[in-house]
Subunit: 155 residues, 2 copies
DNA sequence: TAAGTTATGAACAAAGTGGGAAAAAGTGGG
DNA sequence: CCCACTTTTTCCCACTTTGTTCATAACTTA
């Protein structure tokens, strides 16, 4: 599995292209060849970028947990798969983000690409500052998620 | 697991590079090859430097305890992974600290690298002086954290 | 003092940024 | 339904900035 590390601020040029940081390119190795999938995030006003390989993995997970003949599931699947686009990098490591997705994420000229294990989040930079800094909730969340029962060897 | 011991003051050169103390290099052995991950500390104005191996270990723990399709978990993951960067040492044992991280830690020309078992803390030297000198709280904290219930075999 | 290590600066390579022009896709009128 | 026209996308090339490597000088340490 590809794991992306780091967050980078890049600005869109006049044509709405954004250049993909070299660090991410190195981290994705040959997988850049297969392209990426861009998608609206389920919860927040941002976009998620999956390498094709990871997208397929996530797909399997979703499919294994849903039944398309169930009406509610069908609605969920429709929502889940709406707002996706396949993108690829040009010779200068840039990609063109479709307009409707840019609008969804409120992206105009400066964006943050934030690596998060298998995927990359894409935020309008002003919004990212707000959501990414640890607030009072964080300590509580951390304790709830990680606290309590860490095994001895994991410390 | 790699254990770092000691704290060292180094100054940045004109390009913002800092030379990694030889002692730490010895302590990290072959792990230097794999590079390091730099990260903002969640609560203090400093940076944390993990050998890749240690970073992956932490990652595994986090991933195994979170589900990115859970809204609260997703927020936690975002905060946890924000402000990271992958760095490596050049042929002269120097590393380039990304600007945004330097700004975060208030680093301009002199920093302290402080070993702390699996990781290294990086502080602007003027700030480190303030936090590292034992104040009155320290004894009390020590007692509160360590004093109570240490198991027999840990003494 | 010699060998190794650390610091500094210059030269080079790579990444980021911007724009021109060709190709493709979309739009409207006859 | 086809043709001209506009808009969007893609492919190049050039320039600026940033990061990396290399060479040399200064310093430690045995």
């Amino acid at each position: 599995m590809i794991t992306f590390i780091g967050d980078y601020t890049v600005r869109l040029d006049s044509k709405g292209r954004l250049s993909f940081p070299a660090a991410f390119k190195k981290q994705s190795r040959e997988a850049v060849q297969d392209g990426f999938v861009l998608k609206r995030d389920l919860f927040e006003n941002c976009l998620i970028m999956y390498p094709m390989e990871e997208w397929e993995r996530q797909n399997k997970i979703i499919r294994s947990r849903t039944n398309p003949y169930n009406k509610e599931h069908a609605r969920f699947l429709r929502m889940f798969f709406s707002g996706t686009a396949e993108v690829s990098l040009d010779a200068n490591n840039r990609m063109l983000v479709p307009k409707r997705l840019m609008e969804y994420a409120g992206i105009s000229d400066e964006v943050v690409l934030a690596g998060q294990s298998g995927k990359i989040e894409i935020w309008a930079s002003d919004q990212y500052g707000r959501v990414s800094t640890a607030d009072d909730d964080f300590a509580a969340m951390a304790e709830k998620i990680l606290g309590g029962s860490i095994d001895e060897q994991d410390r």
